[in-house]
Amino acid sequence: LPADREKPIHAKSDSANAEKDGIRILTGNVVITQGTIKITGHKVTIYTDKQGNINKVIALGSPAHYEEKPEPNKELIRAYGKKINYMIPQERVEIIVNAKLFQEGNKFTGKRIDYNMKTQTVNAKGDSSKAGGKQRVEMILQPTKTK
């Protein structure tokens, strides 16, 4: 939800390391929540700016997982990938390597998927076919309900 961005971020993990320049590395059963946003992974790195505000969350997992309720009457957006970058100021989620994203019954898979939280749009990238890449972007769209 748009209001998620104003909500505090809660983090749970088995252990953590707070580094000098405001970087926090959480490891083991990591769960990050902010309103309806939820990110899980086995290792999550939290980056903060000079004022101590969190500006980036990077989750690694097998897979890492992201979910969010975009609007009250819509289904959860769910994404899975080896690496998930939650770019807070840009309001963008990047799902990298074996990326999968489910939105309103539609399914996207590819090498990398960028989800724009504001516009709720999905950009997906596969391996460039010129380079003989095997993983193309795949979209499975459900019939729209109005038909």
Binding site: K7, H10, S15, I46, Q51, G52
Partner: protein, 193 residues
């Protein structure tokens, strides 16, 4: 059984229990932390004490390493331990933050390099930039002055400008300004607009 005999019996029991615990007193040089907040056996008197002392330790380069201020420090010859009443310790560093640590009780272990603090331990980071640093609170902390480290196995709370983190167990590496939280980490980070 008359009242007198009961009181004698109770007296014997107390004496017996006292003797039992005295004989089973842990090894006097046992460096393990006091698991409960039991008072050090002050029946054995200190060989020296200082009231309202200020102790300043310098480095080989002549720079101030740390200052310890206290209400009272008493040294006990039988175990070479010094008890500190209301320790107030300022560890100063040129390149990184200063660390200001206070607690109600503390003791310096034999050799003088290891200090144990307990009872409302508060560690305040004083950043060179003047920005507010982190505040760490716990009930027990061991400070290793030589290695510039502080460790505990107890629950800790770490507050910064916009976050509160709770965990169980912590290792702090003062020179690297790095804090390692060992288990059960729960954090809340406020978001600025």
């Amino acid at each position: 059984m008359g009242f007198k005999r009961i009181t004698t019996l109770i007296l014997l029991l107390i004496l017996g229990y006292g003797l039992f615990t005295f004989l089973n007193q842990p090894d006097a040089f046992n460096l393990t932390a006091p698991t409960s907040d039991k008072k050090e056996d002050t029946a054995i008197s200190p060989d020296f004490f200082m009231e309202s002392p200020v102790i300043t330790q310098y480095t080989a380069q002549g720079e101030r390493d740390y200052i310890v201020v206290s209400e009272k420090i008493s040294h006990f010859p039988h175990n070479d331990i010094s008890l500190i009443d209301q320790p107030d310790i300022l560890i100063t560093r040129k390149q990184s933050s200063d660390w200001h640590t206070t607690s109600r009780q503390g003791r310096i272990l034999p050799g003088g390099d290891v200090m144990e603090l307990w009872d409302n331990v508060v560690v305040r980071e004083q950043k060179t930039t003047g920005n507010p640093g982190m505040i760490i609170t716990t009930e027990f902390l061991t400070v290793y002055a030589e290695q510039n480290q502080a460790k505990t196995k107890r629950p800790v709370t770490i507050k910064t400008v916009n976050s509160v983190v709770n965990a169980v167990g912590m290792n702090t590496y003062l020179d690297e300004e790095r804090v390692e939280l060992l288990s059960n980490v729960r954090g809340t980070y406020e978001v600025q607009d």
